[in-house]
């Protein structure tokens, strides 16, 4: 029996570890996405409160289960039978009253949030009609005349545009099955039910542009994984194509900063580099190049101020070198280096507020993924709508 005890013990340990990792390493993206709505705070509080209550109970129950399995084993070995108990009035009262009490507290605690989310809607006309359909979101704006169901309606697939800091209302519909309109960053989720037109309201406190600017700094893991290796791969391809000896290529074509960057990548990723290169680089050449690069770069003293001029090779860089996930500052540094070495090639990551179907339509949200674009001003939104309208009215 003890084998099973270990198995059951692994479950709470794993759950706690995953939860801990999601909090400790936000760059993994396992936790909640950034909250950009006014209602989000109370929703998140409820979420964590309920998670804490159920988490404690879950872990406690699992531990009790394991303990009982051990006890069971010990007793069974004495007389060959388990010990049975039946009917304990006090225990029954406790396991009824305590959960009821907790549920009662949750029921009252959630009322303000529920009121804000589902009852206290703004008395405004819907800004857009969102029609769900397998596997797309068809979004309809009323167009210049402000009326729905007229020939100047503006149709946009998969992109919902709203102004910032304003509570807007949308009209949610579905053309086929049950869908669920989900804006994870805004903590909005509502089912779209066939035959019903559901009002949903929300506000965004951050524009897409702000979000992108901030997020580009945080997205270092992706940035390096996606851009760092491929660029390093490209350098290798370039070296190959230039048909020059490696040493002179490094001296002629790469600035000191880029060489330092190469060095940092090589230190961090030496073990995995081979696998992550673009397939265009032949594997033999790849390993030869890595070896040679390593050799050359090893002879260059990274602490030489001439080589690393303009780069702050202090704590941030060393932490970046040490930790595979990197730090926020070090990414900025890397991006600057890369931008310097390959001007025009590197842009900040294009991140968006997601719009997904929480009924898991499509393949893992993907096929029914849209995006929410938050504009800085109403004028900016109007300008975008006018542009789309003009596009739609094209007669040439």
């Amino acid at each position: 029996m003890s084998k099973w005890a270990y198995f059951f013990l692994a479950v709470p340990i794993l759950v706690v570890a995953i939860f801990g990792a999601s909090l400790l390493f936000p760059s993994l993206g396992w936790g909640l996405p950034e909250n950009v709505s006014t209602i989000g705070k109370s929703i998140d509080f409820l979420y964590y409160a309920i998670l804490a209550i159920t988490g404690v109970v879950f872990v406690g129950t699992q531990l009790a289960l394991c303990w009982l399995l051990f006890i069971e084993k010990g007793q069974a070995s004495k007389d060959g039978r388990g010990k049975y108990t039946h009917g304990n009035h006090r225990a029954e009262v406790i396991w009824t009253v305590v959960p009821a009490f907790v549920l009662g507290i949750i029921a009252f605690a959630q009322m303000p949030a529920w009121y804000q989310a589902r009852f206290n809607g703004p008395r405004v006309d819907p800004i857009a009609r969102v029609v769900a359909r397998q596997f797309e979101w068809r979004i309809v704006y009323p167009g210049p005349d402000g009326q729905y169901d007229t020939s100047d309606d503006i149709h946009v697939p998969n992109e919902l545009h709203v102004p910032v800091n304003r509570r807007v209302r949308i009209e949610l519909r579905t053309m086929d099955v049950l869908h669920s309109f989900f804006l994870p960053h805004l903590r909005v989720k509502h089912d779209a039910v066939p035959g019903l037109s559901v009002p949903v309201w929300f506000d965004a406190t951050k524009t897409t542009r702000e979000y992108q600017n901030e997020n580009a700094e945080l997205s270092n893991a992706d940035f390096r994984a996606v851009d760092g290796t491929t660029r390093l791969g490209r350098i290798c391809v370039a070296i190959d194509e230039a048909k020059t000896p490696l040493t002179s290529f490094l001296k002629d074509h790469l600035s000191a900063e880029t060489r330092a960057m190469l060095a940092s990548y090589l230190v961090t990723w030496n073990a995995t580099l081979g696998a992550e290169f673009e397939p265009a680089v032949p594997s033999g050449l790849r390993s030869a190049m890595i070896g040679e690069l390593n050799g050359i770069l090893a002879t260059e003293d990274l602490s030489d101020p001439k080589l690393t001029e303009g780069i702050n090779l202090t704590a941030s860089t060393t932490s970046h070198l040490a930790s595979p996930l990197g730090g926020r500052k070090s990414t900025l540094l890397n991006r600057e280096i890369l931008q310097d070495a390959f001007p025009g090639e590197i842009k900040p990551l294009e991140r968006h507020f997601d719009l997904a179907c929480a009924e898991l339509c499509g393949w893992g949200h993907y096929k029914m993924k849209g995006r929410l674009i938050v504009h800085e001003t109403q004028e900016e939104l109007d300008a975008w709508l006018a542009e789309r309208h003009a596009e739609q009215e094209a007669s040439r």
């Binding site: 397998q134 596997f135 797309e136 068809r138 005349d145 169901d149 007229t150 020939s151 100047d152 149709h155 697939p157 998969n158 992109e159 265009a280 294009e350 968006h352 096929k367 029914m368 993924k369 849209g370 995006r371 596009e391 739609q392 009215e393 094209a394 007669s395 040439r396």
Partner: protein
């Protein structure tokens, strides 16, 4: 011990079994009936003798590569990279409907109506070019970005432009490959040696083999020309764009000129010059059940799928809702489908009137005489009197 092994095997099958699609080493050879290939009234499959089959397969691999290594001889390294990337994207997003060869026969396809496009004929419906021409890259990009409303083709608006372009490259590649294959198969169906018949007629084995070898030689000789022809048709697409030579008159929706344009559109719709009503019906709903049975039988598209006229009251236009899209649709008709070209007997201004009318119709169904729905419980109402629905502010029920 064996039990543990069973568990392990079972678990690994569960964990690994569902991962990834195993690409076959070659694009499978298309199988057509004689009717599909050369329009003969015969459902017999065109069955290639093994030697010719092998030669054709080799030719296709020589010219177009394999699913894992697609390629064309004449393209640059960069274009080749695009194809490789396009193939990977296609495999992720498109293959389950459009199929490995782009034959519109992926595993999901049988569940869809309308069926996904079969690129292998080189016929595309939603394009800005003339009916017989290929679509432009922009046309394909547009359909990728906007999707085709009313069908199962979703919009890929969120995909980066680079990836969309790579997908377009691969779709054009598949279409070229399909057309190339089809043309060679057509040549076999018309000119190739019918080995079975030859044996039946008592022709000696050596002679049969000789004629097969001769045909294989011909195939290999004509292949470069066929490919050049197909590539040229794609290259030319940009020259065949339909641009309305008269711009759309811009009306104020509340003006009398607009109403007059709608009236002219209506007269054309119901008149014999444009004769839209013949398929789309007098009420614009194109109810297939009300259709003349002879018409219904004819309503099959080039791909052999049922092809019904659009219900114009739904306001869903698969090829795009822009006025210019509708203009092109009326001007050139729809390639591969029954919609005829109106450009030859309609003036541009008249087409714009029809465009205006069609665009207004979903929101004002009373523009056309709407029959009252037949009520099952009552004896009357079968007179089919054309009752003019109340007034202009009536909205389409379908919205």
């Amino acid at each position: 011990m064996s039990r543990r092994l069973t568990w392990l095997t079972g678990l690994s099958v569960l964990l690994l079994g569902g991962c990834g699609i195993n690409l076959p080493g070659q694009y499978p050879l298309a199988s057509y009936t004689r009717a599909e290939l050369i329009g003969e009234k015969s459902d017999e499959r065109v069955d290639l003798p093994p030697a010719i089959r092998e030669e054709l397969g080799n030719l296709l691999v020589d010219y177009f590569g394999t699913p894992k290594q697609p390629g064309l001889l004449s393209i640059s390294d960069e274009q080749w990279q695009n194809l490789i990337h396009g193939q990977a994207l296609y495999q992720k997003h498109c293959i389950h409907c459009h199929g490995l060869n782009g034959g519109g026969n992926g595993p999901t396809a049988p569940f869809l109506f309308p069926r996904p496009r079969d690129y292998r004929r080189g016929v595309f419906k939603w394009k800005s070019t003339t009916r017989t021409a290929k679509p432009t890259r922009e046309d394909l990009l547009l359909i990728l970005k906007e999707g085709a409303i009313g069908t199962s083709m979703p919009p890929f608006r969120l995909m980066p432009e680079k990836q969309l372009n790579e997908l377009v490259d691969y779709v054009i590649f598949l279409s070229m490959r399909g057309e190339f294959e089809r043309k060679l198969l057509q040549y076999y169906a018309t000119e190739g040696p019918n080995v079975r018949q030859m044996y039946a007629e008592g022709v000696s084995g050596a002679e049969v083999q000789q004629s097969v070898a001769q045909f294989n030689k011909e195939l290999a000789e004509m292949a470069p020309e066929v490919l050049a022809e197909v590539q040229e048709s794609w290259r030319q697409a940009g020259d065949d764009i339909i641009e309305p030579n008269e711009t759309m008159p811009s009306y104020n929706v509340e003006s009398e000129e607009y109403e007059a344009s709608l009236q002219r559109g209506k007269e054309l719709y119901l008149g014999d010059k444009a004769a839209c009503y013949k398929c789309h019906n007098r009420d614009g709903r194109a109810n297939v059940a009300d259709m003349d049975p002879s018409m219904r039988e004819k309503n099959v598209d080039d791909w052999g799928q049922p092809n019904y006229p659009r219900n114009l009251l739904l306001g869903m236009y698969r090829g795009g809702r822009r006025p210019v899209d509708l203009f092109r649709r009326i001007h050139q008709g729809i390639a591969g489908a029954q919609m005829p070209a109106g450009g030859s007997n309609l003036k541009p201004r008249e087409i714009w009137d029809i465009v205006n009318f069609v665009r207004a119709l979903p929101y004002r169904p009373s523009l056309l005489p709407q029959e009252k729905p037949k009520s099952a419980g009552h004896g009357h109402g079968h007179g089919a009197e054309e009752s003019h629905a109340a007034e202009d502010d009536a909205k389409a029920e379908d919205h």
